[in-house]
């Protein structure tokens, strides 16, 4: 899932203070799980903005709403008429949601209420860890299911650097050395020898280095869209 963190309140206040009618718009999927931008957090943030406005003597109406997903129009379109009655939408969805809503909404600004951080797993309540970098060219079968791109600080492909320190990374004792984990995992699998093979330089064009990415499944696209393409 996508992990996000709410922006500092002062930054949010700086964004919203000049608007008269603000909607704090939550997304109830990924960012709700990481307690950053679901309906509950949107309601709390709306309440905090109302109190700050009252303290600062700013006349502002602040509402809140949430939909299941901001990344699919089916979920937010039923609410669009109501959303368009506001001067500003402060979206607590991930960056995808903010971008997508901004494309669809028309002349109303959509501002981000959270910082979108990474794709993560939830090892235990209250902890979120980055395990995949979405590089577009998966090599997990070669590294025992542990990603050297996401979990090695330098994204090295052929073993650890000199900064590995008793299983930890040189950047911090709180960060595991990704390559230490890979070696231990390969030992466990009895496939340590596989790591001897040298990996050639990677083609990063499948990652963001190749520009914004797009996946098209023609068989799922609407017939009309296909016709438009042909025309």
């Amino acid at each position: 899932m996508i992990v996000g963190q709410q922006k500092p309140f002062e930054e949010i206040w700086g964004m919203v203070k000049d608007f008269k009618k603000v909607l704090v718009y939550g997304c109830n999927t990924c960012v709700a799980i990481c307690h950053a931008g679901g309906e509950k957090e949107a309601e709390i943030l709306a309440s905090m903005i109302r109190m700050k406005a009252a303290q600062e003597g700013v006349n502002m109406k602040v509402g809140h709403a949430a939909v299941m997903r901001h990344c699919e129009p089916e979920y937010f379109e039923p609410l669009m008429d109501e959303v368009r009655t506001y001067d500003l939408v402060l979206s607590t969805a991930c960056g995808v949601g903010v971008n997508f809503l901004a494309q669809k909404i028309g002349n109303i600004p959509v501002y981000p209420g959270i910082n979108t951080t990474f794709y993560g797993a939830v090892p235990k309540p209250g902890e979120f860890i980055e395990l995949c970098a979405g590089c577009g060219n998966c090599i997990l079968h070669l590294t025992g299911g542990i990603c050297p791109i996401a979990r090695c600080t330098k994204s090295l492909m052929n073993g650890p650097c000199g900064g590995t320190d008793r299983g930890k990374c040189e950047i911090s004792q709180d960060v595991d050395c990704g390559w230490y984990l890979i070696v231990e995992r390969m030992k466990q699998l009895g496939r340590l020898e596989d790591l001897v093979e040298i990996q050639p330089p990677r083609d990063w064009s499948t990652s963001f280095h190749g520009g914004p990415r797009r996946v098209i499944l023609e068989h799922l696209q609407d017939f009309e869209e296909k016709e438009e393409k042909k025309a």
Binding site: P8, F9, E10, K40, E43, I44, S47, M48, R50, M51, K52, A54, Q55, E56, S172, D174
Partner: protein
């Protein structure tokens, strides 16, 4: 090292609340949120015993303090309550 840096960052964050001077003779308006099974029962017993408590405290009974959410407390503050006392 990292923790010290983190503490410095926390120090730099300005308070959300705008500080203001407290006028003399001011009394806070307090909302007490009490669990039905313990704290509210205690308040009830205090009533039976004819014990008095200040009039600036209002007691609200909830089924369990586990049901209490941040937003309930924030709503109380929005409506002008100065302090919330949660007992359960």
């Amino acid at each position: 090292m990292a923790k010290a840096a983190e503490a410095d960052i926390k120090k730099e964050v300005p308070p959300i609340e705008k500080p203001h001077e407290i006028p003399p003779n001011w009394e806070p308006n307090v909302l007490a949120i009490a669990c039905h099974y313990c704290a509210f029962a205690a308040a009830d017993l205090a009533g039976v015993m004819r014990l008095s408590y200040p009039t600036n405290v209002k007691v609200v009974r909830i089924p369990c303090t586990g049901k209490l959410d941040y937003i309930h407390i924030l709503h109380a503050f929005e409506r002008g309550v100065d302090g919330v006392f949660v007992a359960g």
